[in-house]
């Protein structure tokens, strides 16, 4: 089978109308049909934040995929973007104060939004990922993830503490 036969039936952006309920939940009307509360998921959360957006209903069944949020009308796009920001929120670490190892666990003391935040990382070499866009992702023992958007620009002390554990 040649690859040009592989295609996805994307949702028609003109048929999608995103609104928000009084309580802040994202709602979808698709081709005039009210689909109620919906959840959006990024198919490529790192590379294409606003493209290939999978739309799910409350039963978590996929309604369809949006090719690009830019194709939505202004309000709908803003609402969808806000919903994705909420769903994909990842705390940004501004500095690392210390990393201490104990029993194979690494105890991080960091600063996030000006607040001291401590967390524990297991198997540190696997749970810290330096990405090609210079961001550093850290996954803690509870499944939380933390981001350092510009690793090369972080303060020297933080870099000195983090560097030994990076691939």
């Amino acid at each position: 089978m040649s690859t040009d036969k592989l295609s996805v039936d994307f949702l028609d952006p003109a048929a999608c109308r995103f609104t928000v309920s009084d309580n802040g939940f994202l709602l979808l009307t698709l081709a005039g049909e009210n689909r109620g509360r919906v959840l959006l998921r990024r198919c490529y959360p790192f590379v294409y934040e606003d493209e290939y957006i999978s739309v799910h209903d409350l039963e978590d069944k996929e309604i369809g995929i949006l090719r690009d949020l830019k194709e939505l009308d202004g309000d709908g796009r803003k609402l969808a973007e806000h919903h994705l920001t909420e769903r994909y929120y990842c705390p940004t670490v501004s500095s690392v104060k210390s990393i201490k190892e104990r029993m194979g666990n690494f105890y991080f003391e960091t600063v996030i939004d000006g607040i001291d935040k401590n967390f524990t990382v297991k198997d540190i070499s696997r749970n810290m990922r330096l990405r090609p866009d210079d961001s550093l992702l850290i996954f803690d023992a509870d499944g939380n993830r933390y981001n350092i958007p510009g690793y090369s620009k972080i303060d020297r002390k933080s870099k000195r503490l983090l560097e030994p554990y990076l691939y």
Partner: protein
């Protein structure tokens, strides 16, 4: 009352609490702040502390529940260093004065249902009233388990059901000592499993051999003391009393003095070596014995632990505990521990002797040593970082190579050799650069350090020379002895500056070992378990609720009944929870709610040995242990005779292929043994179950990975196996369930249909749909199942009429 609480905590006994007991753990300042707003926290049923005030902002929020409603108390963020805990007092300390920002109340009648939602790095509780959804609170994933427990209690309160079980669950998941939540899958608090207690326990491994340990320490001490005396003879005495006497000694006296020096030196050297040989000989015999005990303890603990424990631990990390961690301890005590004593004695002894000879010069040497003490840790840190980088790059290279070797067929099939080569080259390049950097650093730093040390030595010699020549405070022999002592000090000081890291690694290894030996299995026998006189195999599951991880229920309120000797077929989509049902029956896990009974007795009350002996599992994950085919077949019953092994293999249709193997039943299989096909391995596992002769047989997709022909031949073996046993058969292929007396259709952990084949077909529900879908699929791929279909339509009726 408080004293009683303290005693119970000290004894690690959980105190039974009355209704509203969760409220007791609410920090007093928080309770006070809430009381100020008119909220009576003494009547709270439960609460949890969320760590986020909005989806993108951390802060303290207490989410509470009582019989009237839900409450949300948001506090000002606690900024600044956390106050230190003193003398076991309130961990929030006197400085913790939370300022209530807002208190929101939601009457119970305004919330019909509560939901736990999970996002990328956060979660939230939402509630529904009628068709409308409302946001209750946000939290990080660290609070997910607590939030979901809160949701369950809310649901129970709403429905008037008992909720004590969930409160107990919370207590089990918090440390009885500090009250902090335990990490998932752990029963030992990382905070309270203190370093001091670990050290005491580590040394307790040597308590059985304390006599030999004392002998070793004695030998090391004597040998070290002699080493300090040697320069006094070899240098001071030799120079001052033999070589540099300015002709005051005659030839005979000089020769006699020289001979005395030489003989004394030889005797001291021999004595040192003898003591060294003594302690090394005893240590070499003692340590393997201690390490053997440690390994045995870990392995025993691992056998005792329940399946749940293994889901939280990677096999690699567990293997490391048996091998690497115990070896870490071994090498520390072989190489590190004796040298600590030697170093300490050398440093103390040498400094004492030097002080006695010349205080000035000693103080100068101590200042020089201080420079070493400061410099070494700095360079150590740099090198450690560099070596870690090399290690990480090396691991990456190894992983890439292993990936490549394991996936070589796919690589060739997709013609990706060049890309793989390039990727390997990139990683290899990075490793090379890191190694070059480390080597360059070492090549430049060590000579620099040596220069510093030589400069210090020269300074000592120069200053000593001035003291000796100008002020006559020192003899030449004493000065040279100082130089020797200076050299003697260098190594122990270096060693003592980095031994702390080695020691820390050893203690960490010990802590990891204790974590395993201290972990209590989730599934364990009650004190006096029931032993059934006759194990019949009647199964009854009632209201069973189960989840592997918080907020992701796998089994939801499931009830099933299977009479002894009957066969129950379980069908459903992948991930519906079918295998979990079999795991619960075999009590590999305990349900969070509901009961699983066998012959009318809750499996939790049954002796696990009797239970497991009477439950046989044949799954698609076939594991053959290292050993012969015969060893594997008689795994469940090692006393089975050769004849029984052959009979079981015949019943499992395995005998034919086994006899065709050159080594027959003595063919070695498992890791490093002969490779067998999937069908052959499965037939051995069926033979293993036949020899076990269980009353309950679980067939979990036993033939799912087989081709049709192999599947049919194995089905015959399974039919033989099922006779006279209660059988739970899980299968995707509905035709394999044609003999089932009852069928259950499972969807998202619920039993949505239950009945005989005919009942379900007449109902034209989910089973009917699945059956038709499969029929069409089989017709499409051209599989002839018509004969089986006819069987399946008739089969169950015969059972019904029996």
């Amino acid at each position: 009352m408080e004293l009683l609480d303290k005693i119970l905590i000290k004894l690690h006994i959980r105190k039974p609490h009355p209704h509203g007991r969760d409220a007791r753990t609410l920090p007093p300042p928080v309770a006070e702040a809430l009381a100020g707003e008119g909220l009576d926290t003494s009547s709270l049923i439960t609460f949890f502390k969320s760590d986020m005030v909005a989806f993108d902002r951390f802060g303290d929020v207490y989410v509470m529940l009582d019989e009237k409603g839900l409450y949300l108390a948001e506090f000002e963020e606690t900024v600044g260093p956390r106050p230190k805990k003193k003398h076991g007092g309130d961990k929030h300390g006197p400085a913790y004065k939370p300022k209530l920002r807002q208190l929101i109340a939601v009457p119970l009648e305004d919330a019909d249902e509560l939901f736990t939602e999970k996002n990328l790095a956060t979660g939230r509780l939402t509630y529904r009233k009628g068709e409308e959804y409302y946001n209750l609170c946000w939290f990080s994933l660290s609070c997910l388990a607590e939030a979901d427990r809160f949701r369950k209690i809310f649901t129970a309160v709403k429905e008037g059901e008992p909720y004590g079980l969930y409160l107990d669950e919370r207590e089990k998941k918090t440390c009885p000592k500090c009250g902090m939540p335990l990490p998932p899958g752990k029963t030992v608090c990382p905070k309270c499993g203190g370093r001091r207690s670990t050290v005491t326990r580590l040394f307790s491994f040597f308590s059985e051999v304390r006599g030999k340990t004392a002998f070793i320490i004695g030998c090391i001490l004597v040998s070290s003391v002699i080493s300090i005396i040697i320069p006094q003879i070899s240098t001071r005495k030799l120079y001052d009393e033999v070589l540099n006497t300015n002709g005051t000694l005659g030839y005979d006296d000089a020769l006699k003095a020289l001979l005395t020096v030489v003989l004394t030196l030889a005797a001291l050297k021999i004595a040192t070596q003898l003591f060294n040989i003594f302690y090394q000989y005893v240590l070499a015999g003692l340590l393997p014995h201690v390490i053997y005990g440690i390994k045995l303890k870990i392995f025993k603990a691992m056998q005792r632990l329940s399946v749940g424990f293994y889901t939280y631990k990677q096999t690699g990390s567990l293997m490391e505990r048996v091998t690497r961690d115990s070896n870490n301890i071994y090498w520390f005590f072989v190489d590190g521990f004796p040298y600590i004593i030697v170093s300490l004695v050398t440093v103390i002894g040498v400094v004492a002797v030097m002080l006695k000879t010349s205080v000035k010069l000693t103080l100068m040497i101590i200042s020089a040593a201080a420079i070493i003490v400061v410099l070494y840790p700095v360079f150590n840190r740099i090198f450690r970082r560099l070596h870690h980088k090399v290690w990480v790059q090396n691991s990456r290279l190894t992983s890439k190579a292993s990936d490549n070797i394991n996936g070589h067929r796919i690589i060739k099939a997709f013609s990706k050799e060049q890309e793989e080569y390039d990727e390997f080259g990139d990683i290899s390049d990075k490793l090379m650069n890191t190694e070059i950097k480390a080597a360059n650093m070492e090549a430049t730093t060590f000579p620099l350090l040596s220069v510093i040390l030589y400069a210090l030595g020269a300074a000592v010699l120069g200053y000593g020379g001035v003291l000796s020549i100008k002020y006559h405070e020192l003899t030449i022999g004493q000065l040279l002895t100082f130089v020797v002592y200076l050299q003697m000090l260098q190594e122990p000081i270096e060693f003592l500056t980095w031994i702390s890291n080695w020691w820390a690694r050893c203690v960490d290894s010990a802590q990891r070992i204790f974590e395993i030996t201290d972990t209590e299995p989730d599934v364990k026998d009650v004190e006096n378990p029931t032993v059934l006189e006759e194990f019949r195999g009647e199964i009854d599951m009632n209201g069973v609720q189960f989840e592997y991880e918080p907020a992701r229920p796998i089994i939801r309120n499931l009830s099933l009944h299977v009479n002894a000797g009957e066969m129950l077929g379980i069908v459903g989509k992948t991930g519906a929870g079918k295998t979990t049902i079999s795991n619960l029956i075999a009590r590999l896990y305990d349900p969070q709610e509901g009961t699983v009974k066998i012959d009318g007795v809750d499996v939790k009350q049954l002796a696990s040995k009797q239970l497991r002996q009477n439950i046989g599992i044949v799954s698609q994950d076939i594991f053959l242990f290292m050993g012969t085919i015969a060893d594997n077949i008689r795994y469940a019953r090692p006393d089975a005779s050769e004849e029984e092994v052959i009979a079981a293999a015949k019943a499992a249709a395995a005998h034919d292929f086994i006899t065709k193997l050159p080594d027959g039943y003595e063919t070695r299989v498992g890791s490093g043994g002969r490779r067998l096909s999937g069908g052959e391995r499965q037939r051995i596992s069926i033979a293993r179950t036949i020899i076990q002769n269980p009353k309950i047989l679980i067939l979990d997709e036993a033939t799912a990975a087989m081709d049709t022909e192999t599947e049919r031949s194995i089905q015959n073996s399974l039919t033989a196996l099922k006779k006279g046993r209660t059988t739970i058969a899980i299968a995707h292929r509905l035709s394999t369930l044609r003999d089932a007396d009852k069928l259950a259709v499972i969807e998202e952990g619920r039993c949505i249909e239950f009945g005989t084949y005919r009942e379900l077909m007449e109902k034209q529900g989910e089973y009917y749909k699945l059956f038709k879908l499969q029929e069409e699929a089989l017709a499409f791929i051209g599989e002839d199942e018509s004969a089986e279909d006819t069987d399946s339509k008739e089969g169950p009726d015969e059972h019904e009429h029996r």
